[in-house]
């Protein structure tokens, strides 16, 4: 968090935080079964567009990467690639117990168990599957974090890139992706 000379948060940061938190664009990329909860959340039943959430077509236009469910190692490669293409500010919301500890795939040979070892996660939403209310509650938490300037996953990723890369390369053996250059 940037502070001014009196140790208080800059006003301009508070304004940008407020603005950012109220127009979250999500990458429309469903990784697992959890993506089935998104259509009811974004359509008329729960209508999350009233909170400023929208789905975006490309990673370069998106602010939030929603990881909806289990990640096969093959999918993880695409997720990392998408995450690195996103422009800052960027946030990751992981939902479903699969992203937290593997969920029902905890002894599967081809799915990762702890997502925060591969990309930084700002908000975890528990459940298998979380209902749209839970998903929206998680996004409210993310909004609060952004307003307070605490959602700094991208910064964490930049600073600990070697550790993340090490973990990623442990799973993705044939690493043919370009270097991360912000």
């Amino acid at each position: 968090m940037d502070t001014n000379d009196k140790g208080v948060r800059k006003i301009v940061d508070m304004i940008t935080g407020f603005a950012r938190s109220n127009s979250l664009f999500m990458l429309a990329y469903g990784t697992g079964c959890g993506d089935i909860e998104i259509p009811p959340a974004m359509t008329s039943r729960y209508d999350w567009e009233r909170f400023g959430y929208r789905k975006m077509a490309t990673p370069r236009q998106a602010d939030v990467l929603l990881i909806s469910g289990y990640l096969a190692t093959k999918t993880l490669k695409r997720v990392i690639r998408s995450y690195e293409q996103m422009q800052e500010p960027k946030y990751v919301v992981a939902f479903g117990s699969c992203t937290i500890n593997g969920g029902m795939y905890w002894d599967s040979y081809n799915t990762i168990k702890m997502l925060d070892h591969y990309i930084p996660v700002d908000v975890y939403i528990n459940g298998c599957m979380p209902r749209p209310e839970a998903v929206m509650s998680g996004l409210f938490d993310l909004q609060e974090q952004i307003k307070k300037g605490e959602a700094n996953g991208a910064q964490k990723y930049r600073e600990n890139l070697e550790w993340y890369r090490g973990n990623q390369k442990k799973v993705i053996k044939n690493w043919v992706m370009p270097e991360y250059n912000w």
Binding site: T73, K74, K77, I100, N101, G102, W106, D107, S108, Y109, N110, I112, K113, M114, H117, N167, K170, V171, I172, K173, N174
Partner: protein, 196 residues
């Protein structure tokens, strides 16, 4: 054709027709609309061609593989479907588990290509002369084929991935509820308990 029809004449006729051409094969009616035949490995392609061209089993629904690790062989099951007679024919064949190879049949049915790719990746069965994309579902896999029964999934997971601590705390649900409500667990149910 109704489900009450327990007359197996059409199924018996398939068994007779198969045995007439291939005396070595053992075939039996499993139930209505399902016939099963066990064939030797060498004979399998000719039985498949015969079933397709002569008996009318035009569609290959699936090729499935069973790992009989105790008997040291794989069992391949070719599931064929006759759309006119509405009869399913299972052709089973045993192949050795060591250096498992099988005849490539994607010249008979093109869709066999996909199933053979899957078997190559998941069980390590080789198909000489078979051209297909190398990877099917797994990417950069360099361990033992994962569907083989001697592949220790749990050990692999422990090595390859990070496991969040705390899962070992998982308690037996039945025991927890019984303890909470001071309930007696019946004697026969105690052997299923996870609490030692």
């Amino acid at each position: 054709m109704t489900t009450e029809n327990n007359n197996l004449e059409r199924e018996e006729a398939v068994v007779v027709a198969l045995k007439a051409t291939f005396p070595d094969l053992t075939a039996r009616v499993k139930r209505i609309r399902r016939v099963e035949a066990s064939v030797s490995k060498a004979l399998t392609p000719s039985v498949l061609v015969h079933a397709k061209n002569v008996l009318g089993y035009k569609a290959l629904s699936h090729i499935s593989c069973v790992d009989w690790i105790e008997d040291e062989h794989f069992e391949l099951v070719y599931i064929l479907w006759n759309p006119d007679e509405k009869i399913q024919l299972l052709i089973k064949t045993l192949i050795s588990r060591e250096n498992a190879t099988m005849e490539n049949i994607d010249t008979i049915w093109r869709q066999a290509n996909t199933y053979q790719r899957e078997m190559r990746e998941m069980f390590g069965i080789e198909f000489p002369g078979f051209v297909g994309a190398k990877e099917f579902l797994l990417e950069d896999w360099d361990d033992m084929p994962p569907m083989r029964r001697d592949f220790d999934t749990k050990e692999f997971v422990k090595e390859a991935f990070f496991l969040r601590p705390g899962r070992e705390d998982a308690k037996d649900v039945r025991d927890t509820i019984a303890k909470r409500s001071k309930e007696e667990i019946p004697e026969f149910a105690k052997k299923y308990s996870r609490e030692k």
